[in-house]
């Protein structure tokens, strides 16, 4: 319990967040102004209705004076006000809601753009689920806030103000008494916020724990069942379920004590005040029954908006927490590297040079130390080394996923930093360890968003990597849909499709992060054949996990703890009998001498 309430945010922080959120309305100020005007008009026509009835009672009904035309006018005016209020309210409500939706749309796109710019390191640290929830769920909570703050709070406050103004117009003394309502209602709101806020927060937290537990149990059910842990998990789930029930119940109790039932008591107390005021005054002077009637009507209307605001207070706090999280992402300074200067060099030949490159992710430990090598146009440079030796960092730097701290990377003599993003992405093709396919069909996965790649080029690319055969055998060939993460295809087939995707771009430079995943030997052969074809005529930088696939490389670099410790071709390295030789023997032995 104490743990759970710890990260319940202080109000002072949420005020800055609120201000920042409200600034999103600035570009829409004309619409906001218009909506507010309509709201004011609607409130005016609304609170004026009881006054007409008061006029009717005091001027005509009590004195029994009934001029037909005037009464018809009065009645007509009343109905007119009723209709006008409703029509104005329709527009006002709609305008506010559309406004809120527009603002959230902008915030979402802004957040998406920001995420596109963030350095990849951010994605390594932040789980996918958390990020998705920032862009969708948190913005949704903020949307609710805009709907409540903009629509409800502004509206309710306006209506309350309107009612008070009307009361003052009718009887200033009594209205002044009724002003006492404001601190009372304010105090209730304050207490309610204080008491229910933490409980509400705990409830939400327990619900998310409950859902997480359920989700995980469903995913891990085979494990749970084969290990006979059903009774234990049922018990654990039961405990979480019960703690959630208790939190919900506490919520109900607090709402029962402080919301409607309490408001109703306050209403009756004020009603007593109004009756006392009119009653005692009637002993000494003539009172207008119409005024009494109007006051009673206003009072009964006063509490609807108050109840509305009270009920929405918790969502408001939730939204502030969400907004805070969203802003933390928007303020994240860790941007990915971008083009520097206006030179726009082009990659024509594909000569790659690492010139004394050192690199560190955290600023403390270097994962690459003084790495220098050159891949001449058309050559294949293979990088081998143990896990954590810095192989992947070389790819990360070459792809400009991270910026080079020390040293330089040159492509065709120009510094990597000076290339435009587009040039880099078009001319350097990356093939990742794990083929990632998007939801869509096969053709769209090969083409991606590049409209200039036509159906013929898609098929050429597939044919080039020898994926054409199996694709044509699928029920809808290139139009075959691919399920979530390409679940309907084998790993090898997905790998081939991702190759075709790279080939469709026809890059000058190929960067291969060799697959470690186990595919059966025949697919493996198809993949190796495709890779060989792809490398032909392109400068290739390949990270190899199996030495067997890189014997024909022009240059092999052996990395050890971020340093190049050996370099040369396969034969040279073997004859040196150094680290490469050892790795080679180990891999050989691994598949022969066990047992």
């Amino acid at each position: 319990m104490s743990m759970e309430t710890l990260d319940y945010r202080a109000e002072s922080r949420s005020r800055g967040v609120l201000g920042r959120l409200l600034r999103y309305m600035v570009p829409h100020r004309w619409k906001v102004g218009l909506s507010l005007l309509i709201l004011l008009a609607a409130t005016g026509t609304d609170v004026f209705q009881p006054i007409l009835i008061k006029i009717f009672i005091d001027r005509y009904l009590v004195p029994r004076h009934f001029p037909t035309t005037t009464l018809i006018e009065l009645g007509g005016a009343y109905l007119g006000l009723v209709v006008a209020t409703s029509v104005l309210n329709v527009f006002q409500l709609l305008l506010f809601q559309i406004l809120a939706l527009d603002i959230i749309q902008r915030l979402r796109v802004e957040l998406f753009d920001k995420i596109q710019e963030l350095a990849l390191a951010f994605f390594d640290r932040t789980p996918v689920g958390v990020l998705v929830s920032r862009i969708t769920n948190d913005t949704q909570a903020i949307l609710d806030m805009f709907m409540t703050v903009l629509s409800s709070f502004v509206q309710n406050v306006t209506v309350l103000a309107g009612i008070l103004i009307a009361m003052f117009a009718l009887d200033a003394t009594l209205a002044a008494y009724c002003l006492m309502l404001i601190p009372v209602v304010g105090a209730v709101m304050y207490v309610y916020g204080k008491v229910s806020g933490p409980v509400f927060h705990v409830t939400r937290q327990r619900l998310s724990i409950l859902n997480a537990k359920l989700n995980e149990s469903l995913q891990g059910m085979p494990v749970i069942q084969s290990m006979r842990q059903e009774p234990r998990l049922r018990r654990e789930f039961g405990e979480i379920n019960e703690s959630y029930r208790q939190a919900r119940f506490r919520n109900t109790q607090i709402n029962g004590l402080l919301l409607r039932p309490l408001m109703d008591v306050i209403y009756l107390l004020v009603l007593m005040l109004v009756l006392w005021y009119f009653g005692t005054r009637s002993f000494s002077q003539v009172v207008n029954i119409g005024v009494l009637y109007a006051f009673v009507t206003y009072l009964s209307r006063f509490f609807e908006p108050v109840n509305g605001m009270l009920q929405r207070m918790n969502f408001f706090q939730q939204a502030m927490v969400s907004a805070d999280r969203v802003f933390q992402i928007l303020d994240n300074p860790g941007l990915g590297p971008r083009q520097e200067g206006e030179d726009n060099p082009e990659i024509a030949q594909g000569r790659i040079t690492f010139d004394d490159v050192s690199f560190s992710y955290d600023g403390k430990t270097d994962v690459l130390k003084h790495v220098s090598f050159t891949a001449k146009p058309g050559q294949t440079v293979a990088i081998v080394g143990h896990t954590g030796s810095g192989k992947s960092s070389i790819v990360n730097l070459l792809m400009r996923f991270y910026s080079v701290d020390r040293g330089r990377i040159l492509i065709d003599g120009a510094d990597l930093r000076t290339f435009s993003n587009q040039e880099l992405r078009q001319k350097i093709g990356l093939v990742l360890q794990e083929p990632f396919l998007f939801v869509g069909d096969i053709a769209s996965n090969i083409r991606l968003g590049n409209d200039h790649i036509g159906p013929d080029q898609v098929e050429d690319a597939a044919r080039f990597v020898q994926a054409d055969g199996f694709i044509r055998n699928l029920p809808d060939a290139y139009r075959s849909p691919i399920g979530e993460r390409g679940a309907t295809l084998s790993t090898g087939q997905r790998q081939l499709i991702s190759f075709a995707r790279t080939m469709a771009m026809d890059p000058k430079v190929l960067v291969l992060d060799e697959a470690t995943a186990s595919v059966d030997t025949e697919t493996e052969e198809a993949i190796q054949a495709a890779l060989e074809k792809m490398r032909h005529g392109r400068t290739t930088v390949a990270i190899a996990h199996r030495l067997s696939t890189i014997q024909d490389a022009d240059l092999i670099l052996v990395l050890n703890h971020g340093e190049i410790v050996e370099r040369g071709n396969h034969q040279e390295l073997l004859s040196r009998e150094g680290l490469y030789h050892k790795m080679y023997l180990l891999q050989q032995g691994g598949s022969r001498d066990v047992g």
Partner: protein, 586 residues
Amino acid sequence: MRVFHDLMWFFRDHRKKYFGGIVLLILVALLALIPPQVVGIIVNQVQIKTLTTTHLVYGLIVILVTALMSYGLRYWWRVLLFGGAIQLGTELRTRLYHHFTRMSPEFYHQQRIGDLMAHATNDISAIQETAGDGVLTLVDSITTGVVVIATMAITISWKLTVVSLLPLPLMAYAVSRFGKALHTRFSLAQAAFSDINDRVQEHISGVRVVRSFGQEGWERKNFVTLSQDVVAKNVAVARIDSLFDPTISIIIGLSYFLSIAVGAVFVVHHAINLGQLTTFTLYLGQLIWPMLAFGFFFNIVERGSASYDRVQKLLSIAPTVKNHPDALAIVPNGSVHYRIREFRYPDTTGSPALRNIDLIVRQGETLGIVGRTGSGKTTLLRLLFREFDIQEGDIAIGGVSIYLMTLDSLRQCLAYAPQDDFLFSTSIAQNIAFASVGATDQEIINVAKIAEVDQDIQNFPDGYDTIVGERGVTLSGGQKQRISIARALLQEAEILVLDDTLSAVDARTEAAILSELKQNRQGRTTLIATHRLSAVEHADQIIVLEDGKIVEQGTHRALLDREGRYWDMYQRQQLESLVEAGGVSS
């Protein structure tokens, strides 16, 4: 309405709560009649100048007592009715969870986890709403409605009552109509929202691909389109939503107008007095909520019963794998004997997954299962766990058919490290001890050492207490596999099953784990399915599966001597290294 009948078991179980809640609601409705009467009397006395201080004080005290009493009663019924509804939600969730733990893999093949989650969250909250707000709106609209209307008709004027109530049924109709339209449009908006959710999820998972192919612009375009769709769908909701309140206030305004206009005529003709007219309009105000509630009621019940049907349907699915009525609760022990004529996955056509398998693995032996993807390796192992039941044939352990023992005792003799190693988001130690909750730290460390993962774990910031998964560290595939092997080892089961659980482990570690296993599991049976032949070379017996049939069987040596498929596979895996070996010597 049928949903109330369906929920009767719950109402009956909690009859005190519900009966009490309904009685309290009725009392509150009766109490609420009092203040308007007092107001009417005082207004009338003011007008005809008969009001005295005693009268006034007396009237105010009545209001005060009413106020305090209804405060208590209002709180009380809320706790009873809503507390009951929350209880129902809790009970249903427990039921569903218990049901889920009994379901066989077939169920999880047919249902998507997202859908099951939706049933356990959205559907249950809709049912909960039915038992809470549904009961409230029904009881309240009937009791308050009837009581107030009766009081208006009896104590003031039935004619005036009829006239002024004319517009109100329109309101219940409008509420129900708008409610339905809102619900439909809201579902569409939800669907659009879930689309954008999926899209973002995909985008972030594939961020490296997006960046390396320079597809940011395209992704943005897609995202903007989808988020505009979300806006459009929500605007459609807003269109109805903003009609809702204003429509109601028109109807209410009309009703007030009628009661004042016609009431004035009555006052003039001395049928009622001015105080009664005031009371009447106050009562009219009290009728707004019951009318709204009546409209809400239909929507709540409609949603609730649809949800209840869905949950019931889910609960009525019987597990496909069950204990035999006379199943023995004896933990089996001994050699494993497979005799399968044919096995097909349920609801599949085409060739069977396994055919004509006759295989004996003697106690203490290690069986290697090799073959390409889809050849039936995993199926053969899953059948042993009774994840699916064989249609023709039998599997026996120690001479007893696995179908004649309880699932629990069968699974007690089996430990499984599955292909898709699933870890729970708790600490590493708790994951390893998942099936053996009482295990000591030393036992956990021992198995981690055998699985060659101890060193990796020690390097994590919190060692064995490191949390894995979304909220903790991300493990590499190889680490996950080794933890899942440690987990299986800790079970100390008679039969250990490794389903390609070494695929992401490097060759040296694989060799180390295998030799540790050999020592550690002396006298106990091990089944290993694998792609890499190196993992089964030492096995007592190796079978080669192809299209669900055993095509070769024997020891590593014997199979090599046969120069068949196994030999082919071995050659292919060795080919490159042999060529390279030649390169060295030359």
